[in-house]
């Protein structure tokens, strides 16, 4: 307690000197190597530069989500991007000495790259949708274990970096390779150095897609710490846990990767559908790959009171590996639907923008519902989709409340 208190004191003074832009006498008391960030483990918004309306679900490990109206930007800014962690965010990252090693039983050699080495490969930029597999978990009944995400664990930022396939080809892939696994610099919650917080991955086919990146930039700048600085895998359209953060090592595997949160019930759903509340054994659980079709109404914010009977609405729609074909809206609880305008994605795996002008027939309480349909004809359900033990893949249509006076 004393240490923490002293730390806060010194932190406050150090920060004060930053505000003044000058040395102050007390600053000499700060020990060497002390991070000049105050509120070390207290203020999420300051520490990670997050918008004040972001909702913190958990503070050890840090987990926070956006709300629908915060996600109105076409390209999600860092301040409104959800934060999902399984472990503790690494500290004191030394960019100049950061290395990435690629190895594994199906790698032709083991090779280590510095960040400078990686930047010598061709640079590619894509806007990529990342949604937490558990986004929407809070609605499942019976309740599913874990962070109770509502709708805000999704983002679509612009990522720049090396194509993963360029690196894998540089190392050499043996013909028996089936999976890529990642290891990051985050620490296990228990503090045990022998345990990984999370070490997931993807099949070779996903790793070899043009859009699968080992990114060193987000929205044209260095990746923020909470989002994987300085190096992050980005596999758009798949559960965001595939897009490992703070990457130090990749392994090319001759079997499905067996790192932390690959097995058991994590990021898996029953291979065959089950009744709500069923117990499902681990060997009957299958790994989630492409995320399902989904959409959000990002304008207006839920709760609008209107004097007039027309309302312009807009939002985004996405469908994992697939393109969204159409978006419809309903103002009568799904009884009738009307089409929205929808734009093509800026690139594959980016969310698409939709809009519509709604006319309400008379005064009263309305819910505006949006429902996207992917290119294979799959639609968002209006009720909660198939129950699964860990509460993944809730893509039920988004609803906002409106009153016409």
């Amino acid at each position: 307690m004393t240490n923490r208190r002293n730390f806060l004191k010194k932190g406050a003074l150090a920060s004060l000197s930053t505000i003044l832009g000058a040395e102050i006498v007390f600053a000499k008391n700060i020990p060497d190597g002390m991070t000049p960030i105050i509120f070390q483990d207290d203020d999420f918004y300051t520490k990670f530069n997050k918008h004040k309306d972001m909702i913190v679900l958990n503070d050890r490990p840090w987990n926070a989500e956006a709300q629908a109206h915060l996600l109105d930007d076409t390209v999600t800014p860092a301040s409104k991007m959800f934060v999902r962690n399984n472990g503790l965010i690494p500290e004191n990252i030394d960019v100049s000495n950061w290395t990435l090693t690629i190895e594994g039983e199906s790698a032709k050699q083991s090779k280590t790259y510095s960040l400078a080495d990686l930047k010598r490969f061709p640079k590619h930029t894509y806007q990529l949708t990342l949604e937490c597999g558990g986004n929407g978990r809070s609605e499942f009944n019976p309740p599913a274990k874990g962070n109770q995400w509502t709708i805000g664990a999704v983002s679509c930022a612009t990522w720049s970096g090396v194509r993963l396939k360029d690196l894998l080809n540089d190392v050499g892939i043996k013909s028996d390779a089936v999976y890529i696994g990642y290891y990051g610099a985050d620490k296990h919650l228990s503090g045990s150095p022998d345990k990984q917080a999370i070490s997931r991955g993807m099949p070779i086919a996903k790793a070899m897609q043009d859009e699968t990146l080992l990114a060193y930039q987000m929205n044209g700048e260095a990746i923020p710490l909470a989002h994987g600085h300085p190096l992050r895998l980005v596999a758009g359209g798949w559960p965001a846990s595939v897009s490992g953060k703070w990457i130090t090592r990749l392994v090319i595997r001759n079997q499905v990767h067996d790192g932390a949160k690959m097995g058991g019930q994590s990021y898996r759903v029953p291979c065959d559908t089950v009744e709500p509340g069923a117990k499902v054994s681990d060997d009957q659980m299958c790994i989630i790959e492409s995320m399902p079709v989904k959409s959000l109404i990002t304008y207006p914010k839920s709760g609008a009171l209107l004097d007039q009977k027309t309302l312009d609405i807009r939002g985004h729609a996405w469908a994992g590996e697939l393109k969204v074909k159409s978006v419809d809206y309903s103002i009568d609880f799904g009884a009738t639907w009307k089409p929205c305008k929808i734009q093509d994605p800026v690139n594959r795996l980016a969310w698409q923008q939709w809009s519509a002008r709604v006319t309400f027939p008379k005064k009263g309480y309305y819910e505006v519902w949006a429902r996207a349909t992917d290119e294979q004809g799959n639609m968002q359900p209006m009720v909660i989709p198939g129950w699964n033990p860990k509460g993944y893949l809730n893509n039920a249509c988004h609803r906002i409340a409106v009153k016409v006076k």
Partner: protein, 153 residues
């Protein structure tokens, strides 16, 4: 005329300088208060502060354990001691499960997350959890609630 103007300018300059430095002082004070509202950095005896935080550890207000946000109840401190060493209490508070469900979570943490054996405390902890955080019936889709109404024109 020129002399008067010069004097006036000098005077104005001094006044402006005075106002500016006062503003700067105020800004520093405001900034400092925001960072350290209790002015703790100027306290002389950290022992007093330490004693104050010690009391806080057990403080319960309106049925809520202030330090963790957990509901007050039998075996609360057992839960605080065993369940918040690695993770935040926030993950407990946002989850709901029956007896079997909480037992499963504990077992999963023991098998994969380095949670220690709880011995006789396990039953007490599960009782606390299922009493204070039991499952609620939600149906297939709940009504929209907590709507924050605002004028949009």
């Amino acid at each position: 005329m020129d002399k008067r103007l010069l004097k006036l300018t000098q005077r104005l300059y001094r006044i402006t300088l005075g106002i500016l430095s006062l503003t700067l002082l105020l800004a520093v004070a405001v900034a400092y208060i925001q960072i350290d509202p209790t002015l703790s950095a100027f306290e002389k005896e950290p022992e007093i502060a330490e004693a104050a935080t010690e009391v806080d550890d057990n403080l319960v207000e309106n049925g809520i354990h202030v330090k963790t946000g957990l509901k007050d109840g039998e075996s609360l401190m057992l839960v605080v001691q065993n369940c918040t060493a690695c993770h935040s209490a926030k993950i407990i508070i946002q989850n709901r499960a029956d007896k079997e469900g909480w037992k499963d979570i504990i077992q999963w943490m023991q098998e994969t997350q380095n949670l220690w054996e709880l011995g006789d405390n396990e039953e007490k902890i599960i009782d606390y959890l299922v009493t204070n955080y039991p499952p609620q019936k939600k149906g297939r889709r709940a009504s929209l609630t907590n709507i924050d109404w605002y004028e949009l024109n």
